[in-house]
Symmetry: C2
């Protein structure tokens, strides 16, 4: 369409919200994006850039000359400009920073000096802070007179002479009070302060827990240096909550806009890790080659025991990882969670063992084989439940992210133990030979 008729495209795109233009941009094929960008050039404003998916933006920004990127960065809020620049390689980053106004450059360089994914990277340096000596009327006059203040803010921070936050006023309280009331009578003294080096995941949890709209960011000496607003936190909440499914499956970042090479290297390392643990399960089977040779039906049934154990383990794992991520599971109730998962494993194991035991007894006409598979299934599902809760708890205790590597260990356990218990019981019970 757009190859032929630039004006028509422009007309269609013009009434859209920047977030929708960004979506459209992501939906078209990578090689059509520059054409689309050209046909709607003056609609491709900074708001659209800010809304783009990280991967799509990175590809686009890399193709633009440094001075154009610097122009965009100058117009964006500090947090959005940082998001755009932090993924560039060092040379490009330096080239863009060199093209920027000294003041903007300083703000971005200072943001980049904080650790990746910390509050310092997310915060905006534009906020309203006033001394507690002001009245409501003074504040309203101050806001009307100072044109350089941010246009959208939700809270006014009250600071002491050292610029340390001592209270906060949401705008609706200010609007509803008579002009002569002093701010120290209106402000709320308890507030959630965000240390500048706090991890973004922790910031997101605080916003969720205390239902915050905005919060003050303080440096190590307690001075107010920025604010974080909830609209910058919602996509982090969504990312952090959604990444567990991706991490548990070993799919890395798992964004459909991630370049194929990155997706390959992110995923193949987990496949290779699983290959190694699968070799362990193979070695277990190899120990019982004589048993299998004597009764090939065991080879037919053994994947059921291992597979169901894997399923039960993954269920427990998903619940445990989610509870850990939400801070619902802490050392103080870990023991209760373990007991709970054991009870569920006994119920699940019992149910599945009865079904498979009866089915195998009937189909193979061999109650002994039915008994062996039922006992193995019960045992493996209980082992799976234990592994599914203890492995992530142990990784968390070791300060590793339980979502990242738990799956490999749980699958290793349920596969190896499934084969070991089933083939071991079959051998020992005298079923074979």
């Amino acid at each position: 369409l757009w190859e032929e008729d630039f004006d028509r495209v422009y007309e269609l795109v013009e009434p859209l919200h920047p977030a929708d233009i960004a979506d459209l941009f992501e939906l078209v094929d990578a090689d059509e994006r520059p054409v689309l960008a050209r046909s709607i050039r003056d609609l491709m404003g900074v708001e659209v850039i800010a809304e783009l998916n990280d991967w799509v933006r990175e590809l686009l920004v890399e193709t633009l000359p440094a001075e154009v990127v610097a122009g965009f960065a100058g117009e964006l809020d500090t947090d959005d400009a940082v998001a755009m620049l932090e993924d560039l390689d060092e040379d490009n980053q330096r080239a863009v920073l060199a093209e920027m106004e000294p003041e903007d450059r300083a703000a971005i360089e200072s943001a980049l000096s904080y650790p990746d994914e910390s509050a310092g990277r997310m915060m905006s340096r534009e906020f309203v802070a006033v001394p507690e000596t002001m009245t409501v009327g003074d504040l309203i006059d101050f806001l009307r007179e100072h044109r350089e203040l941010p246009t959208e803010f939700w809270e006014v921070f009250i600071v002491d002479p050292m610029h340390r936050p001592i209270g906060t006023c949401v705008l609706s309280w200010i609007l509803r009070c008579p002009r002569n009331i002093p701010l120290y009578d209106v402000m709320k003294r308890e507030q959630t302060l965000i240390p500048v080096d706090m991890d973004q995941e922790e910031v997101a949890l605080r916003f969720q827990k205390y239902a915050l709209i905005s919060a003050a960011v303080v440096d190590t000496s307690g001075r107010l240096i920025g604010q974080i607003t909830v609209d910058d936190v919602v996509h982090i909440i969504s990312e952090e909550a959604g990444e567990d499914a991706l991490l548990l499956s070993g799919a890395g970042d798992g964004d459909i806009n991630e370049p194929i090479r990155d997706a390959w290297s992110g995923r193949v390392r987990w496949l290779i890790a699983n290959l190694l643990t699968a070799t362990l399960a193979s070695a277990v089977i190899a120990m019982f080659e004589d048993t299998i040779a004597a009764m090939v039906a065991l080879a037919t049934l053994m994947p059921i025991v291992a597979g169901l154990g894997g399923n039960a383990g993954t269920q427990t794992l998903a619940v445990t990882v989610r509870a850990l991520a939400m801070n619902q599971l802490t050392p103080s109730n870990a023991w209760r969670a373990v007991r709970r998962e054991m009870s569920i494993a006994l119920l699940n194991g019992g149910t599945v063992a009865v079904i498979i035991g009866l089915a195998v007894s009937l189909i193979f006409g061999n109650p002994m084989l039915g008994g062996v598979i039922a006992a193995a299934m019960m045992t493996n599902i209980v082992i799976a439940g234990m592994a599914g809760v203890l492995i992530p708890l142990a990784l968390e205790r070791l300060n590793a992210d339980p979502a990242i590597s738990s799956s490999v260990f749980v699958t290793m356990t349920t596969d190896s133990m499934g084969f070991l218990v089933f083939l071991g019981l079959a051998t020992m019970s005298g079923l074979v030979g």
Copy 2:
């Protein structure tokens, strides 16, 4: 501790934020909760109730007499009261509603008349709406005079005489404008309206996409009937994003506070579904019993092919389900996503096939066996990639939630095809016999 010394407990709990008291409540054992509640009775206010986990609250509310629950419901905002009452069984719900003030009861009954998980359940009926004829000064005076207005709000909605929203003013714009400016010069005309029957997941996506702080809820004739604020949306964003990991694993609701019986019935149905699909894989193996009897090493190696395929399929599945949930994947770019996953599958399959092929050739001293397992691995990983993207896309097209049942189908495919291709190739290649 609290058994002995109520005062000491009270002292410790008193300075905490209601959200922290709610957390404490969840952390102690279920049978200790009533004791804790008694020892901090007057701190157990409605804010704490509102912050409690759904399951914990349901258990607590069920033990309280209807008039106490009615008292809590009367003090809570409509949306929190609805959240508390919607999970009660019908008799309890009716008993509580009968004890409430007529006005509160009407508000809750009207909220309960909307579908579960819709905007009508989430919205608050307290909001500020004014006609466009007001000036900034009129509005400030109106807010100062009307004591019954909500204390915290972020936006004022401008409505026409039919009470239909025509614009919106965030409070910071109002505070920064001189008193004589008419609202129709300040207000933003484009706004995101939420239809009252919209699903909460869709509401959450809109808030995320357009970075909303609050939004007007309208009925079918376009009249303003409520508002939704972002603090009520963040926990939905987090739940909806986090539930994919739980649903993919077949763990149902997966909350660690869910009663054991519910967790059991939620999980065991997926284990039974997997049992049925595992039987299919077993039937595939049974077809090759003679081949296995002739070469038991095949039984040792076959779980590796099936397992790695399962892993690769789960990776693709997690990425696809996430992209569908975020509206990143639509019919217009589905074909691109399929091609992308095929490319990744070819790269992953190639890498893993080379490793396993060489390893098996060396360890078993049988290059033919190495070639067969490499070919089977390559084929199964490509099949896994296809299943991982096509199955969730098909379920989505059929209006089923792809996160719920995709896993079963993908695992069924990768297991059965893994065994079929590996044992089939081993038979046909003349490796055996």
